[in-house]
């Protein structure tokens, strides 16, 4: 019996090529999309799940709030928090851990590399039980300056992995070179962890005595802080304890203004480590994590798309199967006459659907193999699909295929098995009642509503992304090379020399120094107090972000000054000269503020601000009275995602770390060679780190652009599958209506009358689909856009909707018209003789 079913199914597939191709192709593409999304989502969900005792690990995040500024969010915490919380909540916390990242250069023979060293408390391997290749947690990480490196780093520096006992030379911590012995080698960190480091060094707190804002601070947030909880404790209960401590026991009570609770200014959040990859984004602010974070809502969106694509493909199957029912009515009728029960007939069709679905899965797997390299390139991952070692995935996929088969087959099975043999065999009546075509119309409406909705979302996401990229940021970032590393001890003395030599290169227009360049972002905040005149009383201090900009910075970046001037060598009094330690004098210097800072400080016009004085504590440089010499127009110094901060520009030579080299030349490659030659000549021990500013700016939006691209590809696939279905349906409807078309033609209808008739029949569902899809897309996209401080206007959604709707209609027309034309042009004689 089975072989009879299989034979019938196979012949049906083979004899109805269009039907089969549309079904199998549609389901294959649907399943392929589903698999691609599935392995991506699975990878996203796998982050840090593999960590031993992962469920007991949490990280401390910090958020600062001030009354009239956007909150400052970070996944780091202040240096003293770890110890304080560990001791206070010792019944819940087993141990704590701080990580501090420091950029150094490491030498191998003649080669020098820029590297980041992760300094970690000795508890590191109690918290993160990473596997050793050589050495062990007990022996390799037991005393200050013990150095554990990853396998690939060992190979990079020594060419092999058994390098315990070998020395590496690093430069520089507090101005001195370090000779460090490798004490252990761990396996490379897998891709799916939030952690990222190559060098791990046992932290000796005294090493940071010179920089009290790293470890010995309640307010500066420069450490990654983790806790390992005792069994039974969880993030929520620890959070409650920490909240109580903050307002009732912590020293921060003394640091906030009178009458304000610490929790009104500062929040400490506890996030389980396995959640970090997908959920830390909301706590991460503009500085981000050790490496790019995932996006929970994107993962959900992709799961939704996968589901929709599968549903659209299933609907094709249902529609085409029932539309073609009359073709198989006779088979059903005869089987019933021969004694088949309705159940048996239904099972036969369900089985057929499952067979087609499983066949499609095979094609889908082949397709995934083929597109995976491109997919990986698009999403910047190294995903792979090896089903033989991945039984759970195989079972999942087969289950999905079977489920899709059952869902797609259910309606045709119920519908076809209901046929009454007597009616079918006796009358040659069309067996397709009005009810079924109504259900088909509903399904087509659903398909197109889903496709149009996806298309609208794609267009809006794309528009927002390119808007973000093309917005006028307020400065010129073209034709600029950024050279970092000038803050390195070896480079400080040579800084002026290198600026002079670089400026002399042909094609170089200017070289300016600063602490950061646009797209680089450090949260440097300090309190500035406006002195009304020189000697009147102090008013309240305002926390502002500050940068250092060297001479000529504003001119080089073509930043507009609203009043006053930028820093100029003619005004050497602008420069911050550190006040010697032990000296109580107040230093004097000039300062440029931006428009936002001007408003924050309470000035109503740029001119009003000029000449006023701000007092600020410049940490090791001492206290300064800063005279406002210029007001610069607001610019998007960082990604527009984070808006514009009230900022102050100082000219503090101690913070000049980056050079911006503006050029005008056609021989960019030659220029770059020349720049590298000059750098190597002057700073042979500092590796050059050079980037084009335009690429750095671009990179800020890369993640969103990649996501938009991916979203676009998958929604295009959804639209293609929906159109395939429509094509099939139009074909069969046209076929079913050949008699009617014949009659109309005999009555004088022209081919185009007939085409119009059929096209309209399929336009109606698409139009209704538009009406359904638009409000939903509008709602979803408005919510999404609300997440951006600088976003495209709502009417863009309407434009996108109309574009997507029109496109859907045109595609539907083309799809149907082509098919209708063929049927309409046929000679009516054949369809009228016999029924």
């Amino acid at each position: 019996m089975i072989s009879n079913y299989l034979l019938a199914a196979w012949r049906h597939i083979a004899n109805n090529r269009l039907f089969s191709v549309i079904n199998i192709f549609g389901l294959s593409v649907g399943l392929m999309s589903c698999i691609l999304i599935l392995i991506y989502v699975r990878d996203e969900l796998s982050y840090d799940q593999w960590l031993p005792d992962g469920e007991r690990l949490v990280r401390l995040h910090t958020a600062y709030y001030s009354p009239d500024a956007p909150p400052f969010l970070t996944i780091r915490a202040a240096g003293r928090m770890m110890e304080a919380i560990r001791n206070y909540a010792s019944d819940q916390v087993e141990t704590g851990l701080r990580l501090v990242e420091v950029g150094v250069t490491v030498v191998r023979g003649d080669a020098i590399f820029n590297e980041d060293i992760m300094f970690a408390d000795g508890t590191f391997f109690d918290v993160f039980q990473l596997p050793f290749v050589h050495g062990s947690a007990g022996t390799s990480f037991s005393k200050p300056m013990d150095l554990v490196i990853t396998e690939s780093t060992a190979i990079k520096y020594f060419g092999r992995t058994d390098v315990v006992g070998k020395n590496l030379t690093a430069c520089c911590l507090q101005g001195s070179q370090l000779e460090v012995q490798v004490t252990g080698v761990i396996r490379d960190l897998p891709e799916n962890t939030h952690l990222e480091f190559e060098f791990l060094t046992f932290l000796d707190p005294s090493m940071f005595d010179f920089a009290p804002n790293v470890l010995n601070t309640w307010t500066s947030v420069n450490t990654y802080t983790y806790f390992k909880l005792k069994a039974g404790a969880d993030a929520e209960s620890l959070k409650k304890r920490v909240d109580y401590w903050l307002n009732n026991e912590s020293p921060l009570r003394e640091m906030v203004e009178e009458g304000v609770l610490p929790s009104e200014r500062l929040q400490l959040k506890i996030m389980p480590v396995p959640d970090l990859h997908l959920k830390a984004l909301r706590d991460a602010g503009n500085i981000g994590d050790m490496k790019p974070l995932g996006n929970n809502s994107m993962v959900l969106a992709f799961v939704g798309i996968a589901f929709l694509i599968l549903l659209i493909a299933s609907v094709n199957f249902m529609n085409l199967s029932t539309a073609r029912a009359s073709r198989r009515a006779r088979e059903v009728a005869l089987r019933k006459v021969m004694g088949a029960s309705r159940r048996q007939v239904a099972m036969q069709f369900l089985g057929e659907a499952v067979a087609i679905s499983v066949l499609s899965l095979l094609f889908a797997l082949v397709a995934v193999e083929l597109v995976l390299p491109f997919y990986n390139m698009a999403i910047g991952r190294q995903l792979n699909l090896v089903l033989s070692d991945d039984l759970p995935l195989l079972i999942t996929l087969v289950s999905i295929a079977v489920l899709v088969g059952l869902v797609s087959g259910s309606y045709p099975a119920i519908y076809l098995s209901r046929f009454l043999p007597a009616r079918i065999l006796k009358a040659n009546q069309s067996s397709d009642g009005g009810g079924q075509s109504n259900i088909r119309s509903l399904l087509v409406i659903f398909q197109f509503a889903a496709s149009i909705g996806l298309a609208v979302c794609t267009v809006v996401i794309y528009a927002q992304t390119s808007y973000a990229r093309s917005m006028d940021v307020g400065y010129n970032y073209e034709n600029k090379i950024v050279l970092s590393g000038l803050g390195a001890t070896a480079a400080v003395d040579q800084r002026q020399t290198i600026v002079n030599e670089l400026t002399a290169i042909e094609g170089v227009e200017h070289v300016v120094l600063s602490s950061e360049v646009p797209s680089q972002d450090n949260e440097n905040n300090t309190g500035f107090t406006l002195l009304e005149g020189a000697s009147e009383g102090l008013s309240e201090s305002v926390v502002l972000n500050y940068y250092t900009a060297g001479f000529g910075f504003f001119e080089a970046y073509e930043m507009e000054m609203l009043a006053g001037r930028g820093f100029d060598e003619a005004f050497s009094s602008d420069v911050i000269v550190p006040v010697p330690e032990g000296d109580d004098r107040i230093g004097h210097a000039g300062v440029v503020i931006n428009e936002s800072a001007m408003r924050r400080l309470g000035f109503s016009s740029p001119e009003e601000a000029l000449g006023k004085t701000l007092r600020a504590d410049m940490f090791r440089a001492g206290t300064f009275d800063l005279s406002i010499v210029g007001v610069a127009k607001d610019v998007y110094f960082r990604s527009i995602k984070f808006g514009i901060r009230a900022s102050v520009f100082l000219n503090n030579p101690g913070s000049l770390r980056v050079a911006t080299l503006g050029f005008r030349t056609h021989d960019v490659a030659g220029l770059v060679r020349e720049v590298e030659r000059v750098w190597k000549k002057i700073l042979p021990t500092t590796p050059i780190s050079r980037e084009f500013l335009s690429e750095m700016i671009q990179a800020q939006y890369q993640a969103e652009e990649d996501q938009a691209k991916l979203f676009g590809i998958f929604s295009a696939l959804a639209v293609v599958i929906a159109c395939l279905g429509l094509y099939g349906l139009a074909s069969f409807t046209a076929e079913r209506r050949t008699r009617e078309i014949g009659i109309r033609k005999v009555m004088g209808a022209r081919v185009r009358d007939i085409v119009g008739l059929l096209v309209w029949q399929f336009s109606a569902p698409v139009l209704i689909a538009n009406i359904l899809a638009w409000p939903i897309a509008w709602y979803v996209m408005s919510e999404w856009l609300d997440g951006f401080s600088y976003r495209i206007e709502g009417h863009y959604i309407l434009v996108a909707s109309m574009a997507a709707g029109t496109a859907a209609l045109l595609i539907a027309w083309l799809t149907v018209a082509g098919r209708a034309w063929k049927v309409a042009a046929a000679n009516p004689v054949n369809s009228l003789r016999y029924e």
Binding site: S430, R739, E740, G742, I743, R744, K745, V746, M747, G748, A749, R750, D753, N827, P828, V829, L832, R833, Y834, E835
Partner: protein, 227 residues
């Protein structure tokens, strides 16, 4: 009215060549009532389709109202057809989804006639064939005889001068068949030319002339004495 001269129709498939009509010469005057008879497969329907311009001859000439239409394009043929020729089929060929009135109106739909005029002409013709009380019904709610009356109404509502009927009584019982034949007789009396394919000698008696076909040839032509 129409004249077929040495007209042949040959169907070709990959291997077989079938001669459906072989050098047929027929002339039909306006106002005639002609019956075409012959065994199954003798070419009756092919002949009717060619006369009705639904099919084109392989060779020979076809003069319709003194115009040679054998080389005409499909749209030219369609244009002549819709103004001059009405069709009646054995299987009625009404559209299931349209009402009686809408089915009749279909014949005027592609003639650029204003809706109001279409409505009144449909109403008139429904009265004439006696199905006005069924105007809003669907074809499936009618008996075979009633359906064929609708088809007749549809064939003549556009004032077509020539009606081609392909076994119009083939699916009807004798009483209903009689009814339809009388209706055609009445139309012929008013001047409509009728060409009818039939198997029934009784019904061919309504015609003034009977053409007998066999294997694609005209074998005999019988004239019935008038009166």
């Amino acid at each position: 009215m129409l004249k077929l001269h040495d007209l042949s129709k040959i169907y070709r498939t990959d291997e077989v060549e079938t001669v459906a009509l072989d050098t047929v010469n027929i002339e039909i005057e306006a106002g005639e009532f002609v019956a075409i008879m012959g065994p199954s497969g003798c070419g009756k329907s092919t002949l009717l389709n060619i006369i009705g311009m639904l099919d084109s001859p392989t060779s020979g000439a076809y003069l319709f109202l003194d115009e040679d239409v054998s080389g005409y394009s499909e749209s030219q043929l369609s244009n002549i057809r819709k103004h001059n020729i009405g069709f009646i089929f054995q299987s009625f060929n009404l559209i299931d989804e349209l009402t009686v009135a809408e089915n009749i109106e279909l014949a005027l739909l592609y003639h650029n006639i204003p809706a109001s005029e279409r409505k009144s002409r449909v109403a008139t013709i429904m009265d004439k064939v006696g199905i006005a009380h069924r105007a809003k019904h669907m074809p499936s709610q009618l008996s075979g005889g009633q359906q064929q009356r609708v088809a007749v109404a549809r064939a003549v509502v556009g004032n077509q001068g020539l009606i081609l009927a392909d076994e119009p009584t083939g699916n009807l019982d004798s009483a209903h068949g009689q009814e339809v034949m009388e209706m055609l007789q009445g139309l012929n009396d008013e001047g409509t030319t009728i060409v009818m394919v039939t198997h029934s000698p009784a019904h061919s008696d309504y015609a003034r002339r009977t053409i007998n076909l066999f294997d694609g040839h005209v074998v005999t032509e019988n004239l019935r004495a008038t009166g």
